[in-house]
Symmetry: C2
Subunit: 377 residues, 2 copies
């Protein structure tokens, strides 16, 4: 009994409910210990069923990466959402529609032009905005000491818009390994937003929300003085990148792609499966790690890791499994038709290739269920 439906059509996305529940509990416990709020990022899950398990309350708070996510989760009853990607002015009418329908949706920006656009769009009803702060030079955001910070704050505060606070994300935490390194990035996040918040307050501006977060920093942070909330998302499933940088164990990964053996190249030691990059995604986030997991690490149909068997190459609908360089092992039992599971490098990217999750229930003997997923913008 592997918990999978016997008539499963592969490739398909599999969620191990027990592992997912443990991952959610771990994050909730850690954030409670830190004494701040948790605003789960729903970009990894993109599922109402999973969001309900992640959110502190059915109404939120939540973080999203697209307005489509905001629209779907708002329709499902989430009432407090942060859209955490810099706002494009042409999207503000959708923000206003969601707000008019009762969802407290806030936007993010880091420029005078965006602040002016939000101020203009707030003429009919106020739009709350957080100013994005750059803590590690990896992506968007203003430096905490950027000269235009108070000006942006004033444009928002002195118009009908609402200056709600500051936020940052240490994407750089994914590039380092170990709790100490992640704790150092957590402190960079904290220092960046606390510095920015203090500058705004010294300029006589409000800054009620001070928001940080990434899964590695959320779990490693030691002190979040001055921070009001933490955002994180990939912890719900974890993945091989998170395992590779020491944030979780491989055995914590709750997401996999079920696949079927469709052939062999015996002379090359290859096993062909029906999950290629269309199912696994092209994500190769472990390529730079000490242990390169190829396009994914292979498990049997029950989710038990098969040591040293990885996806070494991926075509659109073909995956090629082979032992890691130098490894040996008996693979002769993998006949055509054998079902395997592949752990993903990056849960967000792999999950995005599927419109449903096949759930292995936490309760032994419970019937498998399917949770719909969505994508788009």
């Amino acid at each position: 009994m592997n918990g999978l439906s016997p008539d499963l059509q592969t490739p398909c996305l599999v969620v191990d409910e027990a592992r997912m529940a443990a991952n959610i509990t771990r994050m909730n416990t850690r954030i409670a210990e830190l004494g701040v709020g948790l605003r789960p990022h729903l970009k990894t899950a993109k599922s109402i069923d999973i969001a309900r398990r992640m959110l502190p309350d059915p109404g939120g708070p939540a973080t999203v990466s697209t307005l489509r996510e905001a629209e779907v989760f708002a329709a499902a009853g989430v009432r407090d959402i942060l859209y955490a990607v810099g706002i494009a002015p042409a999207k503000l009418h959708r923000v206003q529609s969601l707000r008019a329908a009762g969802c407290d949706l806030a936007v993010v920006l880091d420029s005078v032009e965006q602040a002016r656009a939000v101020a203009a769009a707030s003429a009919s009803a106020p739009i709350p905005a957080l100013i994005e702060i750059d803590c590690d030079g990896k992506r968007a955001g203003l430096a905490p000491d950027a000269p235009q910070l108070p000006e942006i704050g004033r444009i928002l505060h002195e118009s009908r818009a609402e200056l709600r606070g500051v936020m940052t994300h240490a994407g750089g935490s994914y590039d380092v390994s170990g709790t100490d390194a992640h704790a150092a990035f957590a402190e960079r996040e904290r220092l960046a937003v606390v510095t920015a918040a203090e500058r705004l307050r010294r300029a006589g501006l409000p800054c009620p929300v001070v928001s940080v977060g990434s899964t590695p920093t959320a779990l490693a942070a030691r002190d979040l003085t001055g921070v009001t909330e933490v955002r994180a998302g990939v912890y719900v499933f974890f993945d091989l990148v998170m395992a590779g940088i020491g944030v979780c164990a491989v055995e914590d990964i709750a997401l996999s792609v079920a696949t079927t053996v469709i052939g062999h190249h015996h002379d090359q030691g290859w096993i062909m499966v029906d999950a290629g990059w269309m199912a696994l995604s092209r994500e190769r986030g472990t390529a730079s790690h000490a242990v390169d997991q190829g396009h994914g690490l292979v498990c049997d149909s029950t989710g038990r890791v098969i040591p040293h068997l990885i996806v070494t190459a991926a075509n659109q609908e073909h995956g090629i499994l082979a032992l890691r360089a130098g490894a040996t092992g008996p693979l002769s039992d993998m006949l055509v038709g054998t079902v395997l599971r592949i752990l993903p490098n990056h849960a967000c990217a792999t999950a995005a290739q599927f419109d449903a999750c096949h759930v292995v229930p936490a309760e032994a003997g419970a019937a498998p269920v399917i949770w719909p997923r969505f994508g788009g913008w």
Copy 2:
């Protein structure tokens, strides 16, 4: 006038209808000159509207990479389909359902086990199968001189199944550049399947279909004696990988992702846009090329290439645009809100991230239209 709807929400997928039509005409003309049949591969398009423009006849023939594609296109009237990924026995009931509904769906296999499974599933009604031949050691298939080839043929022919022929795909043609190199791969494809077909015929077995194809080999082949049909798909859009190996010009690429500028990192020379890897895919197929196009080459909103501006980094929903190393140029006019288009490394991977195509009509002044796309298995 850029042909895009003024209320477009980015990121979204854009198809230039005139370029697409020219690409289709180019392939049709070339295959007609070679005197063989064309069985367009619909895995790149995944759109009924585009399939109608690619197919020789509304009924087919067509190639697909998933049974979902077979089901969608069969429901839209395509009656002759090859499912060109090695069959998993657990999928044969879906093959039988489609065949019972009037679609002549054929499967592909390369092992005795699969042949036995197809033979067993043919007890109620015959399933036609092609034997996959390996011409370049890149993926699935039997060597043309594999000892088990006649046995597999006999299992199919002597059961209620149907031995329909042989097929191969030179994935290796993507790794070489220039017409001569692609013509050499076309000859490898031809020689592999013609050799296998002759072995089957010498063993007293039928082999009516002898199928080859990839976009580079289809366009470069000089002689296809013994071949009955060519399969190709990515030619409908082309992409930066195809341009990089000399199969098309950058100006032929009919697919792009429309995106909006959402910010800047002026000190780093970065322009932030709202198309990250979720929109562009993680595909980096030009990384090994003479000209590395990063995560995509940037055009203005009309589709005109902006020299040396590429997507140098991609987060989930953020793309970072910057000039190629060493290049200089004025980028100061790209204010927040500017719409750009990004040409993809690999059309199949990028298109798969979207559920619709926004079409720039070939006819000047015609209203933009939307063609739905689908995914899944």
